[in-house]
């Protein structure tokens, strides 16, 4: 205990490990929902990854969740592809949310082709985001989509029924939407961070 060692020399010699969290890439793909961005480890959607959104029913705010992102991407002249939507996207409603419909391609596909079409779009690299409503998607399919999203540097959104929640999923992010009694989003899985314990409320102003 005789010699006094200056702290700076120890640090400069890099003999001391300093505990520090890995830097989080901040907000490359913000969701447009400030509270959700704050809850997610990537500060938004995980870039070039698959996000799975689980729904109790259609029409509970699943599009409101992604429309700010789609508006940002289409206004940046990037193409967004919608694969096998359960209903027709309403042009007036989407435009009210700021989406440039000239950048939105809609692909109709049979149940067996949804995953194929989604993978092609993701892999092509020319789509900024691909939204799909796969009815038949097993673990392997989702893994392929995740790889394709990474390959094509695109955002992939798979909208599925809530009953798939108990099954493990390779998606980088899993969100569960709740509509009643209150509209809120549960983060069920997020890569690169711990799952928030509290749901994120989802405002449902009409326009």
């Amino acid at each position: 205990m005789g010699a006094v060692v200056a702290l700076s020399t120890l640090l400069d010699a890099q003999q001391v490990w300093r505990g520090r969290a890995a830097p989080i890439p901040v907000g490359e793909q913000p969701t447009g929902w400030a509270e959700l961005d704050a809850a997610l480890p990537a500060g938004g959607w995980p870039a070039a990854s698959l996000s799975e959104i689980l729904l109790p029913a259609d029409g509970v705010g699943e599009l409101r969740l992604v429309l700010p992102t789609l508006a940002r991407l289409t206004q940046g002249a990037r193409t967004v592809v919608i694969v096998a939507p359960p209903y027709l996207p309403c042009v007036a409603g989407w435009q009210q949310q700021g989406v440039d419909m000239r950048r939105v391609d809609i692909v109709t596909a049979g149940d067996n082709d949804v995953a194929w079409a989604m993978e092609q779009c993701l892999r092509s690299g020319s789509c900024a985001a691909v939204l799909a409503w796969p009815r038949q998607a097993d673990d392997r399919t989702l893994r392929r989509l995740q790889v394709a999203a990474d390959h094509g540097q695109a955002l992939a959104f798979a909208f599925r029924d809530r009953k798939h929640l108990p099954h493990a999923s390779p998606a980088a992010l899993r969100l569960e939407l709740e509509a009643a009694p209150r509209a809120q989003v549960w983060v069920r899985k997020c890569r690169g961070g711990s799952v928030p314990a509290q749901p994120v409320p989802l405002g449902r102003a009409l326009h």
Binding site: P56, A57, D58, G59, V60, G61, E62, L63, R64, L67, G76, A77, R78, T79, P85, P86, Y87, L88, P89, C90, V91, A92, G93, W94, Q95, Q96, Q97, D100, M101, R102, R103, V104, D105, I106, V107, T108, A109, G110, D113, W116, A117, Q120, C121, R123, S124, G125, S126, C127, A128, G152, Q153, E178, A179, A180, P181, A183, R204, L206, H207
Partner: protein, 503 residues
């Protein structure tokens, strides 16, 4: 002036080898039935001792197993013209000579670079198409043709050096009128150099003016007098298969060839193809037609192949296929798509047009579309499939207009499909709430009575075409928490009909 000459010494054999693997001895035979003789032989046949000019019976005595196919003059002519169409890419002045193509390249070199580079491009094209060739260049087409007969790769770039290059050409290879080439060697005139040194008057007296005219055309004193080749406006190529093909997978090889030829032809024409028909020919004149339609003119061989293959994969063959034919009539100008310098997409990204074509090839022609708003306030008709693609060069705007994606789509490009014009810019947005999902047609809203969130908004319109509606629209919340866009008869708040979801 600088003329390039491409001599195709094995045109017939190369044409045959394109549609079958080069395995085993193969000869082409021609002549009367009882005296067939070999007109062309592949390497293996030559190594076995067969040679051109040999009687077929003599060849059969030499070799027990070899393939003999009839020499098909029509096919040779077709390949000849096809290669002229390919060469047309490099020059607007292309002419056909027996077993050769000549093209004027002095003006093309400004675009394609100096002669060695242009020559390399020509050779690469021909090699890719599978045709053996000899290429020379000279200031006159006839001189280039003569030089190509004696050598490969010779380039005489200036008129001054032409006479020297022609000096050593034997009379037998000079492609002069037959009477002269037979008689001159007997007189001790064995090369073109000797012939060109002779007094003209004497030559004219002995051989007539044709020889002098031919010599003058050779040296450029007289114009070449060739008919200019014009590429046809329709691409029509047929490949006869070597045996009956029963499954689609075996058609992939000829398909790759035929679409590659189409691409080469389109490059020569500097055009694209918008639609073409693959005609699979069966026995007894029966055919299966596979139409391939594209959103924008294309000419990239890999893409044409992939799209045609996608369409072909969906075909059920009723009978074995004997031949494949590709007919392309719709050949609009090709406009390469522009790309943004500051493009955010990955460098190896597939262009969006190609992605659309790939999806359409598997999912059907109507599978990919965009939506645009119309001026009609009725929700069912407020939007339509748009003909606008992001870069503006995609779907033509008036080609695809219809109100419901499940209704039959008009044939793209047909004039009859013009419906109402769609607005170029998004319309001013309504202040009233609009949902994000729209139902094809309204359905009764089941379940307990919904809670009204906002409304009513009355829509009373459509009187002009018999589809009159008078509805009160409300935003309602269902017991599941869904927000719905529903309507009921004016003044009532019952009998809810669901029009859309605020998803």
């Amino acid at each position: 002036m600088l003329w390039a000459c491409i001599v195709l010494p094995h045109l017939a054999l190369d044409g045959v080898l394109r549609r079958r693997p080069d395995a085993g001895p193969l000869v082409l035979v021609d002549g009367p039935v009882n005296a067939r003789s070999i007109v062309s032989a592949n390497r293996e046949a030559r190594e076995a001792g067969l040679h051109v000019g040999q009687r077929l019976s003599a060849a059969q005595a030499l070799l027990t197993r070899f393939d003999a196919l009839p020499y098909d003059r029509e096919a040779v002519d077709r390949w000849h013209r096809f290669l002229a169409a390919v060469a047309y890419r490099y020059s607007s002045e292309v002419s056909l000579l027996p077993h050769a193509i000549v093209l004027e390249v002095s003006r093309s070199m400004g675009l394609f670079g100096p002669w060695p580079r242009l020559e390399a491009m020509l050779r690469a094209d021909l090699a890719a198409l599978g045709f053996r060739h000899r290429i020379t260049a000279a200031p006159t087409p006839h001189a280039a043709y003569v030089l190509a007969g004696v050598s490969d790769g010779q380039a005489v770039l200036t008129p001054d050096t032409l006479r020297r290059a022609l000096q050593g050409v034997p009379i037998g290879k000079s492609r002069l009128p037959a009477a002269a080439t037979e008689a001159l060697p007997g007189m001790g005139i064995r090369t073109l150099g000797q012939l060109l040194g002779l007094p003209r008057d004497g030559l004219r007296r002995r051989f007539g003016v044709e020889l002098l005219a031919a010599l003058d055309r050779l040296t450029g004193e007289l114009p070449a007098g060739l008919d200019a080749y014009r590429p046809p406006d329709v691409f029509d190529l047929r490949i006869e298969l070597m045996h009956e093909v029963e499954n689609i997978a075996s058609l992939v090889f000829p398909l790759r060839r035929i679409t590659g030829d189409l691409a080469a032809y389109l490059a020569g024409r500097d055009g694209g193809v918008q639609r073409f028909v693959l005609r699979l020919e069966h026995r007894d004149g029966k055919v299966t037609e596979v139409p391939v339609g594209l959103l924008t003119p294309e000419r990239e061989p890999g893409m044409l192949f992939e799209l045609a293959r996608g369409r072909l994969d969906q075909v059920q063959l009723p009978e074995p296929v004997l031949a494949m034919r590709l007919i392309a009539r719709d050949l609009p100008p090709f406009v390469p798509g522009g790309r943004d310098l500051f493009d955010e997409r990955p460098a190896n990204a597939l262009p969006i047009e190609q992605l659309r074509e790939r999806l359409r090839a598997r999912l059907g022609d109507r599978a990919v579309h965009q939506l645009d708003s119309t001026t009609d306030p009725r929700p069912e008709r407020a939007q339509a499939v748009a003909g606008q693609s992001p870069c503006g060069s995609g779907f033509s705007r008036d080609a695809f207009a219809f109100t419901n994606p499940k209704s039959p789509i008009p044939n793209p490009g047909s004039k009859a499909s013009r419906l109402k014009p769609l607005p170029q810019q998004p319309l001013p947005q309504s202040d009233e709430p609009r949902p994000t999902w729209l139902l094809d047609r309204p359905i009764p809203l089941r379940g307990t009575a919904p809670r009204i969130l906002s409304g009513p908004e009355r829509l009373e319109t459509g009187w002009w075409d018999g589809g009159e509606v008078c509805r009160d629209y409300y935003v309602v919340e269902t017991s599941l928490g869904q927000h719905a866009w529903a309507f009921c008869a004016p003044g009532e708040q019952a009998g809810w009909m669901l029009q859309g979801w605020f998803a």
